[in-house]
Amino acid sequence: MIYFQIFLTYLKIGLFSFGGGYAMLSLIQSEVVDKHAWLTSREFADIIAISQMTPGPIGINSATYIGYTVTGNVVGSAVATFAVCLPSFIIVLLIARAYAKFRENRYVERAFSALRPVTVGLIASAALMLMNRENFIDYKSVIIFVVAFVLTVFFKVHPILVIVLAGVSGVVLY
């Protein structure tokens, strides 16, 4: 039952992903690429690039894309997207009513302060998992990586422009 599997997987992703978009990628990757092998590491990198250029949060983008690719139809997309939002619904609605109490709780406060540095580790692992022979096919890949990194960090070039420039360099270099 592929739809049920997609539903459970994205429910899990919606429930356990902390720290927003990029931190989410490590969990999506570990479920979708490593565990279920619904996508290759290469296809996953493609989705990230596409998500950078399309509207909306990366979590929704990946759910919609993967739901479609795995099942080949819109129902798969809808199931994955619904599942990834469902835990948020329940949790935010519960918390919205008792927000003040929740934030002041000593244990909640402590758990969150520990999760903040973990977020950095989650993002790092997402990047490390993608650094393989599938995505870095030769020395040119390494050069593109370094240039893209430097442009973003030191010259504050917008991510969309970085992806477009990389695409143009691909036509020239390969």
Binding site: G21, A49, Y68, A111, P117, G121, F145, I163
Partner: protein
Amino acid sequence: MNLYGQLFCTFAKIGTFTIGGGYAMLPLMEKEIVERKHWIEPEEFVDAVAVSQSLPGIFSVNVSIFTGYKLKGYLGSTVAVLGTVLPSFLAILLIAALFRHFNENIYVTKIFNAVRPAAVALIAVPVFTTARHIGVNLKNIVIPVAAAVLIWYWGVSPIYVVLAAAVGAVFREKF
């Protein structure tokens, strides 16, 4: 337009115009729901952001649920989420359907050969910006490094890493 229609349109607008997603949505969200619509107070917005950041799930979805609920209860939050999700859902669906056919095109292959390492670089960047932002230092750097190595090298699910960190933090003070 009634309030439900306005909720839907405002969040659909936010969803459409934030490319890249996540925190890129923040300035537009604040402008639309705080400054233009006055749906929530500036301090409440800060709260909504803080809650959304500390809860699991997609950041902008969490903010839209929070705002929608405050204005119109359960139905309001449903409408707000639909608005946030729909633009990205439709855009990606179109791309997913088309990309399959373009996949074998020689130029698409060339382009994506170069785009993949660039996409990895775009994920490597927030490792450092987030580290600086939340104040990772010599004392706590062991936490992100351990988390990354566990997930990447040993293949531990991020779920266990998150749970272990949360549980560990709660019990550390007790003993």
